[in-house]
């Protein structure tokens, strides 16, 4: 029996979240005395693939046909389903990313598997599988039981710690049976802004709300994020992206991105329920607000009642001294 894990790559490299996912799947493999098998799709060097062994993968299926450079959910589903059947996989794990969200539901239909999307912890039972997921946009959790032979789980980012468990992984080149009709979606253009850190990947977020007053004044937070380091980026609340002070991809909250960084700074954010729903899984929340009754202070671990434009420069200075 084996546990299958889809390890996504970004331009041929794995990210921290790939290792987080492997560590999670490896623990399930231990709980069920199964072998951990990874699937990689796209061009990745053997050396990079071998790095998956460090986190418990015993075998790695490597699908690197050029056709797969376009992320077609139909083709990816067929490829992973073929490997799952070959391996007799009973549990299949994805990251809750664009690819995971595109492929896992299709795979669930193909294998008639029970899918639990957005898991935040290890299963509390493996037979049947019972696992905790986020629900009501972060305002609650649901323990979900799978009533099928195969379980598919997608794991939310920043929900599990990376643990090493070195294995000498065997790499298996694999050519799935897909045809041209599985690639009906054609990519016309890719517009990549920069090598900017995505709000979902950042360990520390410096976020601003309407209290930042203007696009120009908001820039003090860019300065702070830069002072903290490359693992930190800027985020914003909904009114700020609606006013076009900041781009939409920085919007965190119930209707934007749901994030769970280690540290979340909220400058001039009052803390509407929809905003809190998107950030309340952050490990440490810091609120800076002039209104001492703002709901953000109820969600925060640390707070300063004061003006963002007076506080931020002092914090930047202290961070520079610290680094």
């Amino acid at each position: 029996m084996s546990i299958l894990v889809y390890t996504e790559n970004w331009d041929g490299k794995f990210k921290k979240q790939s290792y987080e996912l492997l560590s999670y799947a490896n623990e399930i493999a231990k709980m069920t005395s199964s072998e951990l098998v990874a699937v990689s799709i796209g061009k990745v060097s053997d050396e990079e693939l071998k790095s998956l062994g460090k986190y418990g993968a015993a075998k790695i299926y490597n699908v690197n046909d050029d056709k797969f450079n376009t992320m077609s959910s139909q083709a990816y589903t067929k490829a992973i389903s073929e490997i799952a059947e070959k391996e007799g996989a009973k549990t299949i794990v994805f990251a809750n990313t664009y690819t995971g969200r595109s492929v896992a539901p299709r795979l669930a239909i193909r294998l008639k598997a029970g899918l639990v999307p957005g898991c935040v912890a290890l299963p509390t039972s493996t037979s049947p599988v019972i696992v905790k997921k986020k629900a009501y946009s972060g305002k609650a959790f649901a323990d979900v039981k799978v009533n099928a032979d195969i379980a598919i789980l997608t794991l939310n980012q920043n929900s599990y710690t990376i643990n090493e468990d070195a294995k000498d992984a065997e790499i298996v080149a694999f050519n799935p049976s897909v045809s041209d009709t599985d690639f009906k979606v054609k990519t016309l253009d890719v517009m990549k802004a920069s090598d900017r850190l995505d709000v979902g990947d950042a360990e520390i977020l410096v976020a601003g709300g309407r209290g930042m007053k203007s696009a120009e004044k908001f820039k003090i937070l860019d300065e702070m994020a830069e002072a903290i380091g490359p693992h930190c980026t800027v985020a914003c609340s909904r009114p700020v992206s609606d006013l076009d002070w900041r781009p939409h991809y920085e919007h965190v909250g119930q209707t934007g991105k749901v994030v769970a960084p280690n540290l979340y700074f909220a400058f001039g954010i009052s803390g509407a329920i929809q905003h809190l729903a998107g950030v309340n899984s952050s490990k440490v929340i810091v609120a800076i607000n002039t209104d001492k009754d703002a709901p953000i202070f109820e969600a925060a671990d640390y707070g300063i009642i004061g003006d963002a434009f007076e506080v931020a420069p002092k914090l930047i200075e202290a961070i520079k001294e610290l680094n």
Binding site: S102, I109, V185, K192, R196, L263
Partner: protein
């Protein structure tokens, strides 16, 4: 051009979250229900596409009991032409997707739209599942969509930018923020007309529930917030570094 928009009936975004039935079931008492926000945006865009093309029909579908009909009527008031309610409780994505796919098989829609996820279960599974059952392509987290002849031109957000794609009909797209700038607000005329528009009730087909919620829990309440004096803002950085070990 025939577009099917899948609608979920969810608690208002500001609704209090509590549970009954040993924490298995959401407590609906005094809660206002709405069209899930991403689906409201997807429907808005579907209406715009029809208006731009000058022809087409927009059908909305929901799997739910009779109590979900006001939500479908609201979709009709926004401008959808007709509605279908599959008369069953929406318990599990596999079950819901099978029901909608069954309706879709009989109606050959060009485009099927969903939201990227409902704001209650946050599953984001139904659209892709319908596509797999129908063996057609699916595009997840669509932030823009246009129609050119029998093709859709779509955009989705990727890390740091956008990817632009095209796909021939039929396909499934799940809409996210950006697909339409603001949800359409029904006008009085639309609300009057919605009462007369067709709302068909169909009985469910045989299917399975492959998952079930055992219990809900609420997040642990936070401890008290430690307030640091604004004049001593640097102290915050020391605490984050030494006490919280977060910096």
């Amino acid at each position: 051009m025939k577009i099917l928009v899948c609608i979920s009936h969810v608690p208002d975004t500001t609704a209090k979250i509590s549970f009954t039935n040993d924490n298995k079931t959401y407590n609906k008492d005094n809660v206002q229900f709405i069209i899930s926000p991403y689906e409201e945006l997807a429907l808005t865009r579907a209406l715009e596409l029809k208006e731009a093309k000058g022809e087409g029909t927009i059908t909305v579908i929901n799997v739910g009991g009779a109590e979900t009909e006001p939500t479908l009527r609201k979709a009709l008031a926004m401008g959808a032409d007709d509605a279908i309610r599959v008369n069953a409780e929406a318990t599990d994505a596999y079950f819901v997707a099978t029901q909608i796919a069954e309706v879709a098989k009989a109606n050959s829609y060009d485009i099927i739209l969903t939201g990227k996820e409902s704001i209650d279960y946050n599953g984001g599974q139904v659209g892709e599942m319908i596509a797999e059952i129908l063996d057609i392509p699916s595009i997840t987290s669509v932030s823009a969509i246009d129609v050119d002849g029998n093709k859709g031109i779509l955009e989705r957000e990727i890390d740091g930018g956008y990817e632009k794609m095209e796909c021939e009909f039929p396909f499934v797209g799940s809409g996210q923020k950006g697909i339409a700038p603001e949800p359409r607000i029904p006008a009085m005329r639309g609300i009057m007309m919605a009462r007369k528009k067709p709302l068909a009730v169909v009985e469910p087909t045989n299917s399975d529930n492959l998952t079930e919620v055992e219990v809900h829990t609420l997040p642990e309440p936070k401890g008290a917030c430690k307030i640091i004096d604004a004049d001593n803002a640097k102290e915050l950085i020391r605490l984050l570094h030494e006490e919280a070990k977060a910096l």
